[in-house]
Each structure stands twice: as structure tokens, then as C-alpha cells.
């Protein structure tokens, strides 16, 4: 009946087989129910016009007017900032660890990075609210430190170890012969890296970056505490203006709207946009990371 399952008659009498089927079914059902719920609940909002919802900046639950423009803009800006900030550190760290550290030092380095990558978002949130936002305020002479810039930098620090260790893996998995050949041709170690190793590691590095971005896009708490919470698209490309991103909006308003009404539908619609975004990033990232192995 199911040709993809290993044919073995004994399995039908085996309750253990059925329990694994049950577990796998449960996982499948969770994924299906979850994603269909997101899109089903946001239907009423799409009905009112997808484009209007995506681009309008007005968000007023009192009048039942919903537009996701400010949140989408904020998400994009904050995530790009995080990337711009984290990328140089992450890449240089990855190159150093993979190419120029002794195996033992590399192991310690990797362990430290993987541990740091697991640090809870709320700890970063505390750092941001109690320290970073005050620094940003004083350093740039702003009237307040809760800005898109602060949120971007905080997220950048947060995803730095994730990108670093994944990129390091990508670089390290390039076989040693490439380096040896390049070195024997008289290239310096750095030239060998850029000419021979980097091109082969590139897909993996990009994959690492995309996965890090996926995490940055979905982070709620750290951003919520420092972004300012104002649903606007600032004039020009003003990074030192407060803003709002999707997870922070959800975190601040979900409890009030739970379960019913257009407000909830609009929040879930925001969630669906976020879901689509992270899913595309992670899918692309993991595809690239896997490709390097072949």
C-alpha cells in the first residue's frame, strides 16, 4: 500500500512499528496544521487586498485599519544592518580559525562560538535595554537610544557566532589538497586561501549567512526591547529613527488580541509574512550548505 516503506510482513504485527508511524505522523500533522493555520487565519486580511496590506503604513486596531508596511520595512532594515555589522567579524573569524589556528586552538574557539550561539535572546535584550541603547544615545547625541540602528547592531552581535561557526565549517570542509597545490605553486597562505579555497567554500559561506539571517529575522525579545515600537517608515534612510519589526509587533500586541477579530487576523498575517521570509532564507541557506558536500 505504501511502497516507500520497507517491505517486511513482520512489521504489521509489531506495535513498535506503529508507534514510530504515529510519531512521524504527529510531526507531519504539526507542520501541516501549523502552516495551514497561519495562512487560513490571515485570509480575511488578504481578502482586503494583499498589496494594500503589504504597503500601507497605517496600523490602528481601534479603527480596524491594518497595514504592514512599517513592520516589513523595519524587519528588512534591522536584518540588513545586523548582517552588515556581523559579516566582517564573522568572516575574518572564520578564516582565522580555519586556516591559521592550531587544531587545538580551533577546537576551543569553535566550542566557545557554538556555546555563545546558544545564548538566550532575552540576555541580549537586557544588554540592549540597559547598556547598548544608552551608549547609542550618548555616542550619537540622539534624544533616545531606541532606534533601528540599535536593534540592528544588537542582532548583529547576536548572530555573529552562528554565522562564524557555520562559515568556518564551510571553509574547513574544503579538502587540504587545494591548499597544498596552491602553496606548492608559490602562493602565500593568504593568496592560497583567496584563490583556491574561498571559491569552493563560497556557497557554504553564503548558506551560513542566510541561516544567520533567518535567525535574525525571527528574533523577538532582543529587538522588542530596543527598537522603539513606533509603526513608521522614517523619511529617507534614517537609521537613527525608531521603528518596528514584525516579531516585535507580534510580541507587543498578541496578548491583547488573542483569538478573535480582525486584529488577530492581521497579526497572524504578519506572522505568515515572517514565516515565508524565514522559510525562504533557511531553505536557500541549507540548500547551499548541503551543496558544498557533493
Amino acid at each position: 500500500m505504501f511502497p516507500f516503506i520497507v517491505p517486511d510482513r513482520r512489521r504489521n504485527a509489531d506495535p513498535l512499528f506503529w508507534s514510530t508511524v504515529f510519531s512521524a505522523g504527529l510531526v507531519l500533522a504539526t507542520a501541516v496544521i501549523f502552516s495551514s493555520y497561519l495562512f487560513w487565519e490571515s485570509l480575511p486580511v488578504w481578502d482586503q487586498g494583499l498589496w494594500a496590506f503589504l504597503t500601507s503604513v497605517e496600523w490602528d486596531p481601534g479603527e480596524d485599519v491594518y497595514g504592514a508596511g512599517a513592520m516589513i520595512y523595519g524587519s528588512l532594515i534591522v536584518t540588513s544592518l545586523a548582517l552588515l555589522f556581523a559579516l566582517p567579524f564573522a568572516l575574518c573569524g572564520a578564516i582565522t580559525a580555519s586556516e591559521f589556528l592550531s587544531p587545538r586552538a580551533r577546537l576551543v574557539f569553535k566550542g566557545a562560538m557554538e556555546t555563545m550561539a546558544g545564548a538566550p535572546g532575552v540576555v541580549y535584550g537586557l544588554l540592549g535595554a540597559a547598556m547598548l541603547s544608552l551608549w547609542v544615545k550618548d555616542f550619537f547625541g540622539l534624544i533616545d537610544g531606541s532606534t533601528l540602528f540599535t536593534a540592528g547592531i544588537l542582532l548583529g552581535i547576536m548572530i555573529l557566532p552562528t554565522i562564524m561557526t557555520l562559515a568556518e565549517d564551510a571553509i574547513h570542509s574544503v579538502p587540504g589538497e587545494y591548499r597544498d597545490t596552491a602553496l606548492s605553486l608559490g602562493l602565500t597562505p593568504l593568496q592560497a586561501f583567496f584563490k583556491a579555497v574561498a571559491p569552493r567554500a563560497l556557497p557554504g559561506i553564503i548558506g551560513a549567512v542566510l541561516l544567520g539571517l533567518g535567525r535574525a529575522l525571527g528574533e523577538t525579545i532582543a529587538v522588542m526591547l530596543v527598537i522603539g515600537g513606533l509603526d513608521i517608515i522614517p523619511m529617507g534612510l534614517d537609521l537613527f529613527s525608531p521603528g518596528q519589526n514584525i516579531p516585535s509587533k507580534l510580541g507587543r500586541e498578541a496578548a491583547e488580541a488573542i483569538g478573535s477579530g480582525m486584529h488577530w487576523n492581521a497579526l497572524i498575517a504578519l506572522g505568515a509574512i515572517l514565516f515565508t521570509g524565514t522559510m525562504m532564507l533557511t531553505a536557500a541557506g541549507s540548500w547551499l550548505l548541503r551543496r558544498r558536500a557533493v
Binding site: 516507500f4 516503506i5 520497507v6 513498535l16 514510530t20 508511524v21 504515529f22 510519531s23 512521524a24 510531526v27 507531519l28 501549523f34 493555520y37 566582517p88 567579524f89 573569524g93 578564516i95 582565522t96 580559525a97 577546537l107 566550542g111 566557545a112 562560538m113 557554538e114 556555546t115 555563545m116 546558544g118 545564548a119 538566550p120 535572546g121 532575552v122 540576555v123 541580549y124 535584550g125 535595554a129 540597559a130 547598556m131 552581535i157 555573529l160 557566532p161 602565500t188 593568504l190 593568496q191 525571527g218 523577538t220 525579545i221 526591547l225 516579531p247 507580534l250 498578541a254 488573542i258 497579526l267 497572524i268 506572522g271 514565516f275 524565514t278 522559510m279 532564507l281 533557511t282 531553505a283
Partner: protein, 282 residues
């Protein structure tokens, strides 16, 4: 010679940037430790908090975090084991496997706040578990399921083929195969997965902040319908009161405790993983 110089310079810059990155990470750690350390004392760890977190300690917050993460792993672990075994042992079509892999991967990529929203509506409202630790544990279980399953699955897939062939040639039943061969060889994958799952659950705030956590008055749960206080939400609330010195000290103290729990779990899993992956390579 000029080329060498340029090379040296470039390398220096790369080292420098890498160093700055490392220092930044260390500074994050250092700040949490430096500010959290003065708050820590035996009383702080063993007293319940009072007056909205401004006085007292962290007893029930720590307990709540541990209850939530333990319950999440208890619920998620068996399902992850079952689902992993189904995919590694029973599915033979590579397409179906890839499909399952994609499902697990997608679940892993979902922003946690969305699990909070959807899970709360499904468990809390639809199944009427309300704002309770049970709701939180169920949501966290779904959240950490991919982490656990991936770890188990990769360790099962690393099992050398000959082990199974030997087992089968001895006429072992599938159950005996599992108990005598797969489990002794792959338990470290399951343990690593469980530890990483615990760490992820312990560090998660967004998914539980309006589904499982209480701020004042809650102690240890007496029924499944009770919310619990947690370290994560405690820090979140105190962080919003960041102009108040005592609140802030308590927040840093709580952050240090939380960080210690999470780092301990991750480091243990790293040690177990590296030890056993080395053994497997031999």
C-alpha cells in the same frame, strides 16, 4: 617582497577584525558575569521573589524554567525518537526521506513567537489548557522537536552498516537489533539531542511569555493548569524597568543564572558529541 608585505598586512587586518569580534563576544559574557555576580548569593538563589521582582530571589523562577524545559523534553523526546526511527529504519524511498527532512527543517526555521501564537490558540484556547505550564511545555516540545530529532537521526545514520548486517545474520528480531545494537551505539546522539533541546527550551522567551509564564504569585505548579514564573520572563519584565537600580541588579543576576544553565547544557552536549564522534572515527 612587496607582495609578501602586502600579504602580511592583509593577514594582520584579518587577525585584527577577528580579534575584535572575539573581544565583542567576550565582552558580552563579561558584562553579564560582572553585573550579575554581585547579585548572586545563596539567599538570592533560594528565596522566592517578592514585590514584583524588586526583592527576594529567584527560587521559583529557576524552578519554573527547569520544569518547563524538562517537561518539553519529556514530551518531545519520545516523539523525536519515534519519528527519527521511522525515517531511518522504515522509509526506503529517498524522496520521502527528503520530504520528511524538509518538514523537520521547516519546523526548525519557524520563528519561535509564531509557535507561541499558534500553539497558544491550539492548546490554550481550543483545548482549554489556558495560560499554564502545560501549554508552555507543549509549545516548547514542538519547538525543540527538530533539534532532538536531527541529532538522533544523524547518529543513527552514522552507524556502520556492518553492525546491522552482523546483527541480522545472527537472526536477531528488530527489537533485539534496536536494543543490542542501535541503542548502545547511538545513545550519545539521543543524549546530545536532549541536552540541546533542553538548552533551547531554557533560553526561549517569546514562545512562553504569554502562554505559560506568570510574574507574581505563582510558585511551583500544583496542577497542570497553573502558570509558572520563569527566569526568561522575569528578566524580560525587569529589563523594562531598567532605570531602577535594584530591578536591574536582579535582572543581571537572573541573566547570569539563565546563561549558566544554558551554557552548562550546551557544553555538556559538545563534550559528549566530540568524545563519541572521535570514537566512531577510530
Amino acid at each position: 617582497m612587496n607582495k609578501r608585505m602586502l600579504d602580511r598586512g592583509l593577514l594582520g587586518i584579518i587577525y585584527l577584525i577577528a580579534l575584535v569580534g572575539m573581544i565583542m563576544m567576550l565582552a558580552v559574557l563579561w558584562e553579564v558575569v560582572r553585573r550579575g555576580w554581585p547579585a548572586l548569593s545563596l539567599e538570592f538563589l533560594l528565596q522566592p521573589s517578592s514585590n514584583f521582582g524588586a526583592e527576594g530571589g529567584l527560587l521559583y523562577q529557576t524552578l519554573g524554567t527547569i520544569i518547563l524545559m524538562a517537561a518539553a523534553v519529556l514530551i518531545g523526546f519520545p516523539i523525536a525518537v519515534g519519528s527519527a526511527l521511522f525515517q531511518t529504519e522504515y522509509v526506503r524511498s529517498e524522496g520521502v526521506r527528503a520530504f520528511f527532512r524538509a518538514i523537520i527543517f521547516s519546523l526548525n526555521a519557524v520563528p519561535t513567537i509564531l509557535f507561541g501564537l499558534a500553539g497558544y490558540l491550539f492548546f490554550g484556547v481550543y483545548l482549554e489548557t489556558g495560560v499554564s505550564w502545560l501549554t508552555g511545555a507543549l509549545i516548547l516540545a514542538i519547538m525543540i522537536l527538530p533539534t532532538i530529532q536531527a541529532s538522533i537521526q544523524s547518529s543513527i545514520e552514522c552507524l556502520p552498516e556492518k553492525y546491522r548486517e552482523v546483527g541480522m545474520s545472527l537472526g536477531m528480531t528488530p527489537w533485539a537489533l534496536a536494543r543490542r545494537i542501535v541503542l548502545p551505539q547511538c545513545w550519545h546522539g539521543a543524549i546530545t539531542g536532549a541536552l540541546l533541546g533542553l538548552a533551547r527550551a531554557a533560553g526561549e522567551t517569546a514562545a512562553i511569555m504569554f502562554t505559560a509564564a506568570a510574574f507574581s504569585g505563582a510558585t511551583w505548579p500544583r496542577s497542570f493548569a497553573d502558570p509558572v514564573p520563569t527566569l526568561q520572563t522575569h528578566i524580560l519584565v525587569l529589563a523594562q524597568d531598567s532605570a531602577d537600580a535594584t530591578s536591574l541588579t536582579h535582572a543581571w543576576g537572573a541573566a547570569l543564572v539563565l546563561l549558566a544553565i544554558v551554557f552548562f547544557l550546551i557544553l555538556t552536549s559538545l563534550v559528549i558529541r566530540s568524545r563519541f564522534s572521535m570514537e566512531a572515527q577510530r
